[in-house]
Symmetry: C2
Subunit: 191 residues, 2 copies
């Protein structure tokens, strides 16, 4: 699995652009739990997840983490290069939720190509729109449910429960017995 | 006040692009209360507010309106042309909050230029990032405050009150006595 086959824009680049990306591409392995990007302090670059899992979250004033979205194999991460778009006026943290292999295009390199290439700029647009859509979906969930449970709201509530149960099984079925025990121990310690 | 002076991208366009925009530009006057854009049903185009005020909101499942942001004189509205970016997977409604004069670049015209022009695509990126930032700011507000009022949280709470009061005065000082009376009447009718 090489970068050229995984990077969706590769065929839209000219020879010089391909060369500058190849010459500056970084391959990185990060262990589960590593903070890859932290607010506006750093501007790593555009990430392509080779394998693993990233979680992007924001911190509320009270220090609560609000998960915005997760990235999986072959997903691109734009907010780790937020400095390339001036109008991104918010800070997020990106954490490896599993051991993760990454390709990184340094921010300055990507920015240079984006400024001159319409296909790259348009692709960046689509990437941002995808994350924007994720966050809009989140707002719908945050908005408090006003209707009490009734026969009218039964199917909608059952739908939420269904989703939550699917998420629960997805998380916990992947764990070994030891991991589950440790997780439960940590959870009760925090209570 | 003509379009060429107000459209920030004008000088980045080539002659052919300027001509196609000029030939297809729509000037529109909309009365306060008009719905300009409604979900994915229509894809009007890129709006430039000549004068007036627009409000962009989403509807929750329960029919509640959640205001995402407002646009004022010389602001550009991208989500009224959401069909030009495939990955925008959410629906918003845009309403004229005051009598408003608009310039509209039809969606297909803008899309055609954006596909071939890096400056236009990058500008679109900045526009989307601005709205994305607005929405991220909103999430921070929606997140419920967990700490009770105390001397520790006094200044933060006072800050919120200060903001809310400034917003209140901005809204209501602009109203005539008749408008205030009507507004209050409508408000109590809905209680």
């Amino acid at each position: 699995m090489n970068f050229e086959n995984c990077f969706p824009l590769w065929n839209d680049l000219n020879t010089a652009q391909k060369k500058i990306i190849s010459d500056n591409l970084i391959t990185q392995y990060v262990k589960k739990g590593t903070i890859i990007h932290n607010g506006n302090l750093d501007c790593t670059g555009l990430l392509l997840v080779k394998s693993g899992q990233l979680r992007t979250y924001m911190l509320s004033d009270e220090g609560r983490e609000i998960t915005l979205y997760r990235l999986f194999d072959m997903d691109m991460c734009l907010l780790s290069a937020s400095c390339i778009i001036r109008s991104i006026q918010f800070e997020v943290t990106i954490e490896a939720e599993k051991d993760t292999d990454l390709w990184i295009i340094p921010a300055e390199i990507y920015k240079g190509i984006m400024k001159e290439s319409a296909p790259v700029a348009n692709y960046t647009n689509e990437l941002m729109a995808t994350r924007f859509s994720d966050v809009m979906g989140l707002i719908e969930q945050i908005i408090p449910e006003k209707d009490p449970a009734s026969t009218d709201t039964l199917y909608r509530i059952a739908g939420f429960m269904d989703q939550a149960m699917a998420g629960f099984f997805e998380t916990y079925q992947a764990m070994t017995e030891e991991e589950l025990a440790e997780h439960r121990y940590q959870r009760f310690r925090r209570m």
